[in-house]
């Protein structure tokens, strides 16, 4: 038995892929960063940080088709820019959510989501508060880990699950109301 798994990433291909990504979507990246931060230096910092985040997801990015890749890049820049802006404004860390008992509600949330159509879910998501929508995007669209989301949102990793649960509950409640 071998103690370690063989590593197989090819750095040169990754470098070329990231370079291509950056050059292809640079206008959208800087445009989004500028719109969020309103400041060139902050926008450039946001793009730098976004590139670093994206480089950690190279394996995932390679699997995405064009439109999804483009939106992944832009949403990443948006989230990163917002996070930077909050840090620069020295906003206090997001309130850590108290632990909730999840077991009773989660089945109801799943039922609500499973029964709803894509358009219904989209409409419900659009009605969520920005923060709840962002945490869902981070988990389900950007496929970020709890630790990554925690860093982005400036909360503790343990609170990420609670924020996700809240967002799902809120979403389920909106879907329930729409279904009425």
């Amino acid at each position: 038995m071998l103690p370690l798994v063989l590593l197989t990433i090819e750095n040169e291909e990754d470098r070329l892929f990231m370079k291509e990504l950056y050059l292809t979507y640079h206008q959208l990246m800087y445009g989004m960063a500028l719109r969020v931060t309103g400041n060139r230096d902050a926008a450039q910092d946001a793009v730098s940080e976004s590139v670093l985040s994206l480089m950690k997801k190279t394996a995932l990015l390679r699997t995405l088709e064009c439109n999804k890749l483009r939106s992944y890049v832009v949403i990443t820049v948006k989230h990163t820019a917002i996070s930077l802006l909050k840090r620069s404004r020295r906003e206090p860390p997001a309130e850590d959510a108290a632990f909730l008992h999840l077991t009773d509600g989660s089945r109801a949330e799943d039922r609500a989501l499973a029964c709803a159509g894509i358009e219904e879910i989209k409409q419900a998501v659009r009605r969520l508060p920005e923060r709840e929508k962002d945490v869902l995007l981070m988990r389900y669209f950007r496929e970020m880990t709890d630790e990554e989301i925690a860093r982005e949102m400036n909360i503790r990793p343990v609170s990420v699950r609670v924020h996700l649960s809240r967002a799902r509950k809120h979403l389920a409640a909106l879907l329930g109301k729409e279904g009425e």
Binding site: M1, P3, M18, L52, V74, A114
Partner: protein, 288 residues
């Protein structure tokens, strides 16, 4: 749950794409111009960042590449040893001599000559990249996705920690000798009672010996050059000083790995029982 998550995922993908499309269409000429200006002033820095990060894969990526290259070599050695059934001399009657997986760990000898110990630069764990080993003890499981190229030798000293000198408690250690076939320059001088020699593994310029007591193992590894292995994700890191060397200690789930340099060699001692690990590490001594 899966179906509900899939629906949510699809919905969020479409929302992200719609939002991106909406943003792209809403960009004014002035905004595009400013974006291009920001890009022009920043492009070289970002491309350099991409090249730098890709080249090294980060410090951790470099160590992972070294580890993975070592695994390749050891895999070949393992196959060779299994086929040729190398002779190993048990240190105690009845001890098995089956080859054990090669673990990188290390402890330190108490009687070694004054080491020129140049601590290796150890990467700090990064939570974002998960690495998990296939067969290491639980606390060492690393699942590597970074590239492996060739083993690297590092000469970078550790960042200046403030190591605390600690006394090693007496815990009933028994004297042991390096087993026949051990080609390293160092070996633990003592092992806790009940630990039987299990086996040796080696490859060019690296050697490993394992001891077992029931479910618990101690593995001593020596690299004939300054080297480093990645710190298991989630492990806590601290430093100790002994015999002029600074040992890096990575602990997780009760297990521990000591890593330090001695006379241009990097030594690792890894144990499932953290309490005895340091005691054994401090007994590592020169054997050649």
């Amino acid at each position: 749950m899966m179906r509900s998550d899939d629906a949510l995922r699809r919905a969020l993908e479409e929302i992200a794409q719609e939002e991106t499309e909406r943003f792209a269409r809403s960009m004014t000429q002035e905004e595009k111009h400013q974006a291009e200006e920001a890009f022009r002033g920043h492009r070289r820095r970002v491309l350099s960042l991409i090249a730098r990060k890709s080249k090294t894969g980060g410090r951790r990526g470099g160590y992972l590449r070294a580890a993975a290259a070592l695994i390749l070599l050891l895999g070949g050695a393992l196959i060779f040893f299994r086929q040729s059934a190398p002779e190993t001399q048990p240190l105690s009657p009845g001890a098995s001599s089956t080859v054990a997986p090669f673990h990188a760990i290390s402890p330190a000898p108490t009687e070694t000559p004054a080491p020129t110990a140049k601590p290796t630069a150890m990467p700090t764990p990064m939570a974002d990249q998960t690495i998990s080993p296939t067969s290491a003890p639980d606390y060492l499981k690393i699942n590597t996705q970074s590239p492996t190229v060739t083993p690297i030798s590092t000469e970078n000293p550790l960042p200046s920690p403030t190591p605390e000198a600690t006394a090693v408690p007496e815990n009933g250690l028994l004297n042991v000798e390096a087993p026949a076939g051990w080609q390293g320059a160092f070996f633990p001088g003592q092992m806790p009672a009940g630990y039987a020699f299990e086996g040796l593994e080696s490859e060019e310029d690296a050697w490993s010996a394992s001891f077992r007591c029931g479910e618990k193992r101690i593995v001593f590894t020596e690299y004939g050059r300054l080297s480093a292995l990645p710190i298991p994700e989630g492990a806590s890191v601290s430093y100790r000083q002994w015999n002029g060397a600074v040992a890096l200690i990575a602990e997780r789930n009760g297990g521990v790995r000591y890593t330090w340099d001695q006379d241009g060699h990097t030594l690792f001692l890894e144990a499932d029982d953290g309490e005895i690990a340091e005691a054994v590490a401090r007994t590592v001594k020169s054997v050649h």
